[in-house]
Symmetry: D2
Subunit: 261 residues, 4 copies
Amino acid sequence: MPIRTLVWGENIHERTNAAVGAIYPDGMHTQIARLIGADSDISVETAVLQDHEHGLSEERLARTDVLVWWGHKAHGDVSDEIVERVALHVWSGMGLIVLHSGHFSKIFKRIMGSPCALTWREAGERERLWVVNPGHPIARGLPPFFELENEEMYGEPFSVPEPLETVLIGWFQGGEVFRSGLTYRRGAGNIFYFQPGHETYPTYHNETIGQVLRNAAKWAHNPNRYAALLSAPNRPVGEAMEPIEQRGAKLHSSGKDHGFT
Amino acid sequence: MPIRTLVWGENIHERTNAAVGAIYPDGMHTQIARLIGADSDISVETAVLQDHEHGLSEERLARTDVLVWWGHKAHGDVSDEIVERVALHVWSGMGLIVLHSGHFSKIFKRIMGSPCALTWREAGERERLWVVNPGHPIARGLPPFFELENEEMYGEPFSVPEPLETVLIGWFQGGEVFRSGLTYRRGAGNIFYFQPGHETYPTYHNETIGQVLRNAAKWAHNPNRYAALLSAPNRPVGEAMEPIEQRGAKLHSSGKDHGFT
Amino acid sequence: MPIRTLVWGENIHERTNAAVGAIYPDGMHTQIARLIGADSDISVETAVLQDHEHGLSEERLARTDVLVWWGHKAHGDVSDEIVERVALHVWSGMGLIVLHSGHFSKIFKRIMGSPCALTWREAGERERLWVVNPGHPIARGLPPFFELENEEMYGEPFSVPEPLETVLIGWFQGGEVFRSGLTYRRGAGNIFYFQPGHETYPTYHNETIGQVLRNAAKWAHNPNRYAALLSAPNRPVGEAMEPIEQRGAKLHSSGKDHGFT
Amino acid sequence: MPIRTLVWGENIHERTNAAVGAIYPDGMHTQIARLIGADSDISVETAVLQDHEHGLSEERLARTDVLVWWGHKAHGDVSDEIVERVALHVWSGMGLIVLHSGHFSKIFKRIMGSPCALTWREAGERERLWVVNPGHPIARGLPPFFELENEEMYGEPFSVPEPLETVLIGWFQGGEVFRSGLTYRRGAGNIFYFQPGHETYPTYHNETIGQVLRNAAKWAHNPNRYAALLSAPNRPVGEAMEPIEQRGAKLHSSGKDHGFT
């Protein structure tokens, strides 16, 4: 069975800004989905902010292996309830790929637990992305570096947690650097942050970007879900694996689980 | 100047449960503060849930180097607004030591971005804590292992992010293991999670526990604050360090910073 | 094409010690190979210390995807030259799974760069292995814990580098704990250390052990090799991606690469 | 007591190359020592390749808290025996700061266990070092970035293990990036790799470089040594912390420790 990806797009700039609309006439989410779906081992669907429940119903997330997130202008319009729903799926094992300005999305800030801030400049300058970890699955088949003639500058410090691994670092023409490809696991969910993708440039028409996204979808895919990571079950004394006796004072009545929230 | 620690306690069980009150007649926070304050390089104050603003006013956090957190029964009674305030201070550089059942506190779940769940059993069984990273500053002066004759069992999987370093692992008499001492950095804030400390046992009368807490306070202490990690400033083209020209389409008017939330 | 694994065994105890021979009449390497080869996506061969070049010729390593290493008594008899050859293959992308007493093998110490010491006791005591990272590919399909009724105790501190991720932790009947499943990457090579496997107990007849080994082989497999990680090439000024001029004094004549050793 | 640092220099180029001699008339090690010794909490000595035992006798290492290493041309002239001696001290808790071309020194390759390769260009181009982890002790007091008008380019991929933390990343005028400040722990020894420092440029006359080196010395300092991390002691059955009985077959006679090598 192919890896079931779902590309989520904010779907605003492409309809309200002529420059963006010219690059992505069918929407950014559609073009991102084309890149990812170019691999026959991956199936792809799309959802947008304007859909009912933002297209992220419980049922749909339950059949999603990897969620890809692009948002920028309307982070605040995403429902808190749905952000929590997505977080629960990530912790249970759904993969998550966060793109570009998604660094400030509710879902990314929620699962990073840190500010996720950075510096930025919208000058259409050159970015050169270097593979610093060629053996990582997300770097498979990539050249030593690749260039985007126009990108938005994102600069350090990027206030995210130290990653499991740094895969890519970006060099910017104006003088900055940025950790452009970072991996995390939260609960059982694999997470990849990937910096390129400003809406006024044709980044998602670049084939190497497509290769990174497909690699990331395969890396992030976990065929199982792990609901057990969400609850705090009591293990009664009588069921201990090694023989022990009840000692000391006790607060809890036996068998009562801690709830998650 | 000494390291300014603030020990925060929920302060409920010691007043409502006779067994806890007998062990901690002055409150758990008071006894934890005694352990930490036994080092003349560290000054200590306390605050409790019942204080105005839970004793965690903006002004007080601003003069706190390391916050120590013990809570269990009333996580839900902590104000969301104050949790966000604490998180901002941690990200800016205030240290945070989270104790025992604080694994499910709002502040710990907030900055971990993961479920922080585990398994548990309140049987007063023996725990033996092993130092797996003797060279870490938090392990300074510790023996290879130390024992608590009665502790609550906390068992894996502990659904927290992979730590920077694992310092201690606990062995439980009933057959479980637990990563009992874990380090993190979020923004500029150093965070230490330390598992022992169930309220019905005299854990905070143990001198080795005191040594760990004092070491952790010293490790977590950062003399500076880093407000810059919280904002996403624009870097105008004209101020770029290397000469570049504006190219391509542009969404933002120059000089407009991204807000944090 | 299946993943090509090569199981290397010291092949001494099973021929000289009656107890070991009774458990592994065809050699430990043969039984380990049976466990791994039970998955049709994996092909398996074996090699032993007594083979010409220990069965680890350049040609054979070049067609190996993942090398599995079991040694104990005769670490010192492994040729230094062949250890370096194996290291070069690991750094280039060959996976490596190091078993049990292999913690003190030349190849493991070589690529860890640390003492790799631990404490031990050969008492046939019970070990219970806990999955602390259920979402990791090496934990796929495993129960929350599994038991080995007889194992050699290995205790902390295990003086290895902090791993990329801790997957398994062992609980021992006599009171110790051990980080029993650890992942690393060195160059492009994925490395997994797995603690169980003392020769006087039937560990490699345990089906869950087999599941871990097969998962580890799949996780460690990298379809590419990356020879570029071994050399330090000069990038001449005239070929710089951004226009620069030669400035300042110069030590090297252009075009001379740094050698690796 | 101040932190006792020992700056080790190869001490060749400054005597044989006029350009280097003009910048460092007293030797590079002397100038590096001046930068580090500018803090009254740190005492400093120097040693050079040409000294008896390279100035790294057992006795001297035993009274060194942090060793600073600069070498380039003559890595091969450093005695293997002394490299092993230094490694044993690092694993036991001596700090180690490796500078620039020391990436290919025997001691760095020995304790990294990986190729430590990179790309390079000696063009005197501009480097701009970005602090990506402002809250790390090594970044204390640093500006967001600092510039070296002339440095040797070092480019990714740098085939070192994933660090504990990435502190600094370098931007190069010619288009490359490099992880310029990386932290590790091996055994109990704290290790910092710091990329700037080519001998034909006045890098060690830069005050910000001095600040990094002093911060690194303080971070790397561990007041204790941990010889226990080097040996693998047997824990006899009769001394187990929990009552167990000898079971199964046994290979070792009791009480025999595994040797380290």
